[in-house]
Each structure stands twice: as C-alpha cells, then as structure tokens.
Symmetry: C2
Subunit: 338 residues, 2 copies
C-alpha cells in the first residue's frame, strides 16, 4: 500500500503539499504540482478512504435506501438506483445500497456512524417512521416520494395528483364518460404509499369536475387477478370505455384480456397507463401514457442532496410536471346506443 507520505518523500515535498495538490484547497506552483502528480502516477498511489473519512469527517458516500419489496415498479426502482449511482459518481460520491429491511435502524446506523454524508430514501410512506429521525440527523436527506407532512424535508416526486387529473382530462376530452381505474395491489394502499393514493385523488377530483364516472379496482399484477378485476368492472359498469392503469404489471394482462373478449383498443376501449415510457412503447399496443421519469427523479435527488452538502439549496418539494404522450391505445369514445 502506497501512502501519502511515500508520495511526498518520492516527490521531495511535505505530506501536506501532496494533500493540497490532491484537494486543490491551497495554491501550488505548477512545477511542484507536476512533480507530485508524476510521483502519484509512478507509485500508483490511491488515497485511503478510511483515513480520509476520519480526518475530514466526510466519507463521500451517499446512502440510498430502496424498498425491500418487489411487489411494484421494479424497473422504476432500478432505473432510479442507476441514475442515482451515475449522477453521484459524476459529483464525486459513491452510493451505499440499503434495503428497507432494517427500517429506522438503518437510518440510525448510517447517521450515527458517519458512514454516509447524506441519504436518499425511496418508497416513502405517507407517515413514514424514518422521518422523525431524518429531521434531526446531521446528514442532509432527500426523499423520492412525498410523505403526508413535508415540513423541513426535501422531496422529489412526479406530481401524481396532476398525473391522475391529466389522465382523466385526456379521456374526458375524447368523450369517455365511464372510466375504470386498474390500481395497485391492495397491499400497496394498505401501506399508505403516497403515489398510489395521490394518483387516485387526482383522478377522482378531476373526474368529478368533468362529470366522469370513476370505478377504482385494486389489482395484483397477475393475469388471474386482472381477469377477475376486469370481469367485476364490466359487470358493475358495462358502459365503461376508458381505462387508467396504474399498476404496470397489469398492462399486458389487461391488453390480452380485452383482445380475447373481442374489445378493440382503441376503437372500443381506450387505455391510458402510468408507467415508464419504455414500457408503454413496448406493449402489444403502443400505449398512451404518462411517463414516470425515473432517471430524472434519481438525478434530481442527487443534485439536491449535493447542493445541500455544499451549503447551497434549502428544503423544498420538487414536483415534476406529468407529461402525457398520446400513442395508439386511446381514441374517441365509441357511439353507444342512445
């Protein structure tokens, strides 16, 4: 193991000079800098992370807490995680991967040990038990998702309320009056996951304003559960012509089932999904959808947390405006018998 001291000796300077060359916190003459850099290269020197962390009380690590569950939005999670890792590296940070498993204990461990300089939490619940701990942690934190009370917190999320509203508007504009919402699995609602609840609120609110009839049915991602939900929907509201799909796992089953029942998309039934663009574009019918901007959420979260680490930036809630892309799964409502 090559140490700073050895580099210093090799370059004929003091240890502090080498340190300042590395950090740039003091000016160093060009010849000295070059000599030091040359020595670093020749010796193959790499600063020791532990020693650095101890001396500077900065680890250059950002902790990312991802949900343990894989009952929803796995691709979204993965995309966020990768965006976080990539963006963090671009700012000189590494990413520590924590699963939700430990819950609040993980937060305590990280904040207490100085393992990470900052934290990013995903899959925040409306009344998340980790929040009180964050409020008086030394480390700045950014949430991806929106809890019920955001006072003193920095959050990034898609504006799911607006997303719901946007879906309702799109279908209303096309003349649809009876809308079914294929929701997330019941467990997701029971967990008080913000985005699921908010999307529904947005849908309901706008539907009321526009005079739409709305029927919400939770749905596991499987084919069977979608079949069951669909049967109940048409049973209860035979006039349904518009679907909003919130659960991306339900998309393929829904399209399959509709086709099998002889209902054409978009001629008889219009479908709007809330999912990443890639998923929407790959389905058997190219789906009209509101994109979930996973990459942007991850990137923004890192940028916000880095800003806080550098003393810039304050607490704020960043809601990304939803964008609806019209593809091949939505069209004018069919004329029904008068």
């Amino acid at each position: 193991m090559v140490t700073l001291a050895e580099v210093a000796r090799h370059a004929g300077v003091s240890a502090s000079t080498v340190s300042y060359v590395l950090s740039g916190k003091r000016s160093i003459s060009a010849p000295t800098r070059e000599r030091v850099e040359q020595s670093i290269k020749e010796l193959g020197y790499h600063p020791n992370a532990g020693a650095r962390a101890l001396a500077s009380s900065r680890s250059n690590i950002i902790a990312l807490m991802v949900p343990l569950r894989t009952d929803m939005y796995v691709p979204v999670m993965m995309e966020v995680a990768i965006a976080v890792a990539t963006t963090a590296r671009a700012h000189g940070y590494d990413v520590l991967l924590l699963t939700g498993e430990e819950g609040p204990a993980a937060v305590r461990r990280v904040t207490g040990s100085g393992l990470a300089d900052a934290m990013i939490l995903m899959d925040v619940e409306l009344e998340d038990e980790r929040l009180p701990l964050l409020r008086d942690a030394r480390q700045p934190t950014v949430l991806i998702g929106l809890p019920a009370d955001t006072v003193g917190l920095t959050c990034v999320d898609l504006d799911f309320t607006a997303t719901g509203a946007l879906c309702a508007e799109h279908l209303a504009q096309l003349g649809h009056r009876e809308i079914a919402v294929v929701g997330e699995a019941p467990a997701v609602y029971e967990r008080h996951t913000g985005f699921a609840v908010r999307t529904l609120e947005g849908l309901r609110g706008r539907a009321r304003e526009l005079g739409l009839r709305l029927l919400h049915r939770p749905c596991e991602g499987s084919y069977e559960s979608m079949a069951g939900a669909l049967a109940r929907i048409f049973d209860e509201r035979p006039g349904t012509t518009g679907f909003v799909v919130q659960n991306e796992a339900a998309i393929d089953p829904l399209l399959s089932l509709l086709r099998r029942q002889g209902r054409a998309v978009p001629e008889d039934i219009s479908v709007v999904a809330v999912c990443p663009d890639q998923v929407a574009a790959q389905a058997s019918v190219r789906l009209t959808s509101v994109a979930i901007p996973a990459e942007e959420m991850g990137r923004r979260a890192v940028e916000l947390v880095v800003a806080k680490l550098e003393g810039r930036g304050a607490d704020e809630v960043t809601l990304l405006a939803p964008e609806l892309t019209v593809r091949a799964s939505s069209g004018p409502a069919p004329h029904t018998a008068p």
Copy 2:
C-alpha cells in the same frame, strides 16, 4: 458526536476495554461488559466508520458492480442486488453500489482506496476487461456469471449449459422435433455475455444428441421484433411446435402473438421459458420454465465472499443445477400429417 473515549470515561474503564466489549476479541468480565453496554446505550454511542476502517483496515463494505445497461433481466438484477444487500447485512457488511459505467476504473478505485473489503461483479462478459485487475487485487472477489477463463476466480452462476440441455430434453420427451429458440437481443450476443452463449450451446448440443432441429433467432423484447422473429420462424420452419424463450421480455409478446394466430398453447405449441419463477407464474399462460434463481445467486455470492474474507473457502466455480418446473405451457407434440 459521542466517541469511544467518552464512553470509556462514563463507564470508568479504558478505551481499549470498550473496544474489546464491542469486538468481542478479548474476554471481558460480565459486570464490566454490562457497565460499558449501559454507557453506550445512555450516551447513544455509534462507532465512527472512518476511524474503524483506518485502524483496522477493514471497511465492512462489499462493493457490488451492476451493469449499467437495462436491456435485459432487470428484475433478475434487482433481485440479485437486494439479496446481496440483505445477506451482506446479515453478515455485518454494507453494500456499495457501483455501475458498470466506470468499467475497470471502478475496480481500481475500490481496490486502491480500501473503500470496500471485497467485490461482487455481475454481468461478467466472457473476456471481461476487469478480470486481470481482480486477479491481483488485495480484495477477494466473486463473480456472478462465468467468464471464459475461470482460473483463480470464484464464480457463481446458474448452469446455463445444463439449462439449455434441460429445455431440449423436456421438449424432446414430449415428442417435439422442431424447436425455435427466441434469444436475447443481438447486442447481448455481441457483448459476449456468457449465459446467453452457454444456454444456446446447451440447447444445440442436446438437440443434436436427441435429433431435434433447432432454429435460433435473437429478439429484442418488443412486440414488433417478436412479431418479426415469429413470422420468420414459421416461414422457415412451418413444422415448429416447440419454443424456448430466453429473453423474458419476449414472453408476453410471444404468447399474445401465438394466440392471435390461432395457435393454442400447449395444444399446438409448447413454450418453455428461462426466467424467474415469478415471471413464469404470472404470464397469461402459466409457463413451464427453468427458474433463474436470482435470490440464491446473490446470497451465495455474499456467502462465498464472506468465507474468503474470513480466510475460509477457496477459488471455486459454483454452478447451480437448473430446475425445470412443468406448468401449463408445454404438452405432447401434436400429431402432424404423416
């Protein structure tokens, strides 16, 4: 920040005693231990990670390099990552998430800085440029996946050759003679990804032995590309009755298309997939499949790497035996006109 020294003072013992209580590396009398533990609790002490790393030259961190690309097997990646994180925690390690983006540089950074005690690499290519670096790194490494040359390396992977063979056997046993393989996207092969190549080799080898005719067609996950591939398959080999699907994104499109063409599964066409059990069970037809044991691969990788860290365990290649589960998508080959 509470330090070890403060705990020692509070408990009326020396710092080293507190350290030994924490690490258990020396025997401590019960009364002393209790007093120290009490002080730790009262003061809310958490050992400082940086100081620990510096003094012990162990960071208690395992680095996990995941592929940057999301062109395949996202759920598998995610499941592996979560299993790694969970298992690592159970052994007292945290996980550092690295993306493939930096390539060999990331390996150098981690091994050089002592940021992590060990590494786990996913998505290893047959001639991976990171391998030479690993061979003489201080940190033990485990690969998930199999490079061409495994000398001096520890690897865990599903036995994809056997997997391919198993699929061929299953279909042969049911009387199928003409088999089509829906492969990964061409980019995956160009990248020399081991599992894709090996699966194919296993299929080809066994097919030859059993007298099956095999047709391999790469396929992006999209509906369009599956439609194209399928058309070409039936065009070239109208007698095809068995399908092996390697690309999990192609599963739903394939089933949809077959149904639309009036080909019944499993009456006319049998389908065997290589994918996680959850995916197989959720498809519109419950799929006969060989499971990709993502959780087990992640768990094993951590166990192997921890064993190496503790001086147990040596270099070895662990190939998990494939298991084929018969579900509703495969059945006897239809009797064709003589």
